[in-house]
Symmetry: C2
Subunit: 249 residues, 2 copies
């Protein structure tokens, strides 16, 4: 992966980009891609590094090429809630807004494919196909945020943990284009604290519930960041969600 990453970062070639057909550029024709490419640059961050602070000026937008980042919001007294998880192909930044609304932190090593904001905004005007893709992605994110509202508002601590693992397992499975089922191993690119911030829990509760799921055989921990799920279906049951997948189109 770091080797890949270096390759991409140096060559800057869209045709070998792992998110070429899933990111905001997904539906681009060659000419549109060319226009995007002319304003494109890469940035890399190490796990833990801050990409932007809420309130700071932000002159670029971009796509996650690899790694993972979290959007975070805070109350004055320091209580913290993660409000978004950016995985490969997800879009970062808001066209038309110069100031970041959320703090963005790399939760694992991260590569971003960036576009300067102004040229990108012009491109959005001129190229409905790109604007359309961005609308589609934003609607998907809104749906994901709404699922998260249900999780935060109504699920128990155990269900929250299981739900997070389900989401990560599904994304991991999607990467290798296989349905999530049976025995799955996932990498957890999050500390217990980051998980807690995402789930609206304390890190102690996260730890306790991870232990409980382990004790009950729903998950097996290999070290602290590698999780084996012996039966994905069982995990879905623990998550409290409707067992039969999502909504058809």
């Amino acid at each position: 992966m770091p080797a890949d990453a270096a390759l991409i970062a140096s060559q800057q070639a869209c045709d070998i980009c792992p998110v070429r057909y899933r990111a905001v550029c997904a539906h681009c024709e060659a000419d549109e891609l060319g226009e995007l490419e002319s304003t494109k640059f890469y940035r890399t961050y190490q796990a833990g590094q801050v990409v932007v602070w809420a309130g700071d000026r932000m002159d670029f937008v971009g796509s996650v090429v690899s790694g993972m980042a979290g959007l975070t919001q805070q109350l004055e007294d320091g209580r913290t809630q993660m409000v978004g998880l950016l995985l490969p192909s997800d879009f970062l930044g808001r066209p038309g807004r110069a100031v970041a609304a959320y703090t963005v932190t790399a939760t694992s090593d991260l590569i971003l494919c960036c576009f300067r904001r102004k040229p990108f905004e012009s491109l959005l005007m001129a190229r409905p196909r790109i604007a359309g893709r961005l609308l589609e992605m934003t609607l998907d994110e809104l749906d994901a945020a709404r699922d998260w509202l249900l999780l935060l508002g109504r699920k128990s601590a155990r269900e929250k943990i299981a739900s997070l693992l389900v989401i990560l397992a599904r994304r991991e499975a999607a990467l290798i284009k296989r349905p999530a089922e049976g025995r799955i191993t996932i990498e957890l690119p999050l500390t217990r604290e980051a998980m807690a911030d995402y789930l609206g829990l304390t890190l102690e509760t996260v730890s306790r519930q991870m232990s409980a799921l382990k004790r009950d055989g729903v998950i097996v921990l290999e070290g602290k960041r590698r999780v084996v799920i012996p039966s994905f279906q069982d995990l879905v049951v623990e998550s409290g969600d409707d067992s039969d997948g999502g909504i058809p189109n």
Copy 2:
């Protein structure tokens, strides 16, 4: 308001529409408005009526003209979470999706300005200005959803109630184009149960915290649905939010 409503519903004239410059049609020129108008129709619902059930086919999209609706999601065992509040000018439905992802319920008497989905989707392709407005509105909704994540994940029951009242007061103030400050009276078009579903609480807790805010003089109740806020600033303090408003552009 019902008189207005009837007028609008019968005349179907965009130029006297109360959300003409705030809804998805906001930036439309006369010709675009004409195209929209040709596929437009109105629907009205009484408080409590269901607009669509999650999973049902939905062949229209539209804007809230007056009243209020809630988007609701459920777990299998019945636990319910409201995941969106649609106020006047808000957009309902998702272009490109034929099946409703959420149950939509009128929480007060409601008037929708609807467009058949297919023609609207064509219009989105042909008219970047409309697509652009929809993108902007969707991004705003996403921001609102993320604020709500912070509320559900990290705020106390009392702060949740105060936050909801702040939001309603701000929207009410925006309608009459005045900043929210000083003494404000708002109409609560929600039952205690709907408030609970929105805030991730039980209705008993909502009731208790409303009583507590009343006891502490933060709010005055006139009947059950009318709330007087003697000092908007004090209410904002109770909400736990950063006191200094929102993010500048």
